[in-house]
């Protein structure tokens, strides 16, 4: 076995068995399980809740009873009109709220009396029902036939897109953009978590070898460049393993849980997004991780002991955080200039570009350009780190990151 594969194997095996890796992987699986079985879990917690009792007193002549339909969350009581009695029941806690609906200058007016404030969720449900009732009331006052009224209430604009630019392959529909947005969001979060996990893993791994002085023992038999490459390859392999485990668990869930509903959902999302998108997302994911691993290895070689690893990790973590927040800002509006700018910056493009590809109308050139910048950065960072690593890995210095860089340059030139 070559020295490279020996080093890689040793790192891979020891980390695979480490508590942090196992617990992190388990956490992903648990998070995925919770997401997939969310409705069942919610039921488990909310299923036993009694429906809220809400009394509706209608002082107008219009018939609004059809709007307030009882369900599992709320029961509407509409056959009692004694306000005093109802108010007493609210005070006693038998009723959650009393809603008094009356006419004021031709508009529907509703007064909600409570003893204890309503929960936000219930409040908004009642508000929207009342809103709807208000429209209904206005329509009824126009003395239309019930058919006409129903037509107005059900009115909806049908929108279809037509692109007059023949050269373009056609913009994405809103559904496509919407699902693109959510998938990109998921990809971004995944990249963020993977980077945080494996960036700190490689940095602390190298820092601990340096700190425990095992590094000198290793570097006598292995060239620094080989060591550097083996560390990156080993951690990358771990990242792939974790991704693999997550993917397999997801596939099992998708195929067997809930009669394959999730599988259908996933395939329909992939169809909507095109295979190209999935490929791009994967490429960005892997390349971004590689870039951060190179940086992490370089930073790990700078510190003198493992306790200092956090200190050098800080700047890199900040950059991932910036990328993450820029991506989050895109959830509301993925077309802003800040998103465009960050989709080209190599350290953040992995999180931001997939969103642009998925959720906006973007040409072929932009993603390729961003990918190209990322690749070039990786190559430059790799070559630089490789030559710097040899000098920094046995230099023990104090101070901040910049101070450490300076010390390395000073004592090795």
């Amino acid at each position: 076995m070559s020295k490279f594969s020996l080093l890689m194997k040793q790192l891979y095996k020891s980390k695979l068995k480490s508590k942090s890796f196992i617990s992190m992987t388990l956490l992903y699986v648990i998070a995925m399980s919770v997401a997939i079985f969310w409705s069942d879990i919610k039921e488990l917690f909310t299923g036993n809740d009694e429906a809220q009792q809400i009394a509706i007193v209608n002082d107008t002549s219009a018939d609004l009873s059809g709007i307030f339909v009882s369900n599992s969350d709320m029961t509407f009581i509409q056959d009692e009109s004694n306000i005093k009695k109802l108010e007493q029941q609210v005070k006693d806690g038998k009723l959650a709220a009393l809603v008094e609906v009356s006419d004021q200058n031709g508009q529907l007016h509703a007064e909600i009396s409570t003893f204890q404030p309503l929960k936000l969720n219930d409040q908004s449900t009642i508000s929207s029902l009342l809103q709807y009732a208000g429209q209904h009331y206005a329509v009824q006052k126009l003395s239309l036939t019930s058919d006409q009224a129903a037509q107005i209430m059900a009115a909806k604009t049908v929108i279809s897109n037509k692109n007059l630019n023949e050269a373009s392959t056609g913009g994405k529909s809103e559904e496509e953009k919407q699902s693109g947005l959510w998938v990109s969001y998921a990809v971004g979060i995944l990249i963020y978590f993977f980077i945080s996990t494996f960036l700190s893993m490689i940095t602390t791994e190298i820092a601990s070898e340096k700190g425990s002085r095992a590094m000198e023992m290793l570097l006598v038999s292995v060239k620094p460049a080989t060591h550097f490459k083996a560390k990156i390859a080993g951690v990358l392999l771990l990242a792939m393993t974790q991704m693999g485990i997550i993917a397999v668990v997801f596939l099992i869930y998708a195929k067997f849980a809930k009669n394959g509903v999730i599988w259908e959902m996933a395939t329909s999302i992939v169809k909507e997004l095109s295979v190209g998108y999935v490929l791009y997302a994967m490429l960005f994911l892997v390349l971004t991780i590689i870039l951060y691993l190179i940086v992490g290895a370089l930073f790990g070689s700078l510190v003198s002991k493992v306790e200092e690893a956090g200190q050098v990790l800080m700047p890199a973590m900040m950059i991932t955080l910036i990328g993450f927040y820029v991506m989050l800002s895109g959830i509301g509006n993925p077309d802003t200039i800040i998103i465009k700018v960050f989709s080209y910056i190599p350290f953040t493009s992995g999180m931001v570009m997939p969103m642009r590809i998925g959720a906006t109308d973007i040409g072929m050139i932009e993603p390729l350009l961003s990918l190209g910048i990322l690749l070039v950065t990786i190559i430059v960072a790799y070559l630089f780190s490789l030559s710097f690593y040899k000098r920094s890995v046995l230099t023990y210095s104090t101070g901040g990151v910049i101070q450490k860089f300076k010390t390395v340059l000073k004592v090795t030139t």
Partner: protein, 301 residues
């Protein structure tokens, strides 16, 4: 099978760590590199091991530049003890052995041999971090030569070991020498150097003060250390011809002579033809030579 350093120099921006160092180590020899902290010993080792580049000069092994040889012929025990804290003792030795190109099956015999020789039998399945400092050092020492290197560098191998373990280590070094290993080691403790080394090099702030055989170094000073037990006072002794310095110790008085030849006349005067309890002329110890060479400052250990 020789290691040769010619005009080896290592310069940093604002100081010179090693300045024009020259020495040769023959096959099967034990060579000591002596100097205070910061004298340039570790830097020299790192340059030999190609962990640091030389600013000038050449280092060759059997006539070939040291950075072009197969590194598995080298073994190194760093000054700062370093092993994998969470790896088991046995796994650690297998790992370093395999990393040096050995097969697992071939390693087993040697690992068993050295583990029992260094009395680590009970610890072989323990994690390295749970071991005492001395035991960790023994594990690391085994790791440094488990692949049977032709040339072994030991940086301060004795520091932190108790007398029993020190003897174990000395025996191991002599056994390796018997097997043909060339050994270069550094130490602050001169008694170890004196006992083991055939040749040595004395470093002071990167400059070699002496390089050659131990006997030659001692001969340079001659037999100038005279221990006596007499009723002469210090002032009287100092007035004797050829006496440079007088030091009163618990059981004896030590005179430092300008030259060996004065000893005879001093004997005549002290004894005056009568019985004398102690009169012993000897070479200086390496410790004394070292202190004299580097300027009498206290050696940090």
């Amino acid at each position: 099978m020789t290691l040769q350093l010619q005009h080896v120099t290592k310069k940093y921006k604002d100081f010179t760590a090693v300045d024009n160092l020259n020495f040769t180590i023959e096959k099967g020899e034990i060579f000591g590199l002596i100097g205070q902290n910061g004298a340039g010993k570790t830097t020299t080792f790192r340059m030999i091991l190609d962990l640091q580049e030389t600013t000038a000069g050449t280092i060759s092994w059997n006539g070939k530049p040291v950075n072009s040889i197969n590194r598995d012929v080298l073994g190194y025990l760093p000054e700062e003890r370093g092993i994998f804290p969470t790896m088991k003792v046995e796994d650690q030795l297998y790992f370093f052995g395999e990393l040096r190109g050995m097969k697992k099956a071939a390693l087993k015999k040697d690992i068993d041999f050295w583990i029992s020789r260094f009395e680590l039998e009970e610890k072989r399945k323990d994690k390295a971090e749970t071991l005492s400092k001395g035991n960790q050092q023994k594990v690391q020492l085994i790791a440094s030569f488990i692949h049977k290197p032709q040339f072994l560098i030991l940086d301060e191998p004795f520091s932190g070991l108790d007398p029993v373990n020190k003897d174990l280590l000395k025996d191991a070094i002599l056994l390796l020498k018997e097997q043909g290993t060339t050994i270069l080691f550094s130490s602050h403790q001169m008694d170890n150097v004196e006992e083991l080394c055939d040749h040595l090099c004395l470093l002071k702030r990167g400059v070699s003060l002496f390089s050659g055989s131990l006997l030659d170094l001692k001969k340079q000073y001659g037999k100038t250390k005279l221990s006596v037990r007499s009723n002469w006072s210090t002032t009287e002794l100092l007035q004797l011809e050829g006496v440079k310095d007088v030091r009163v110790e618990k059981e004896q008085t030590v005179l430092l002579l300008e030259d060996e030849r004065f000893a005879e006349s001093i004997f005549q005067q002290l004894s005056a033809g009568k019985y004398i309890e102690k009169f012993s002329l000897d070479y200086l110890t390496l410790d004394e030579i070292f202190k004299d060479k580097v300027g009498g400052t206290v050696v940090e250990v």
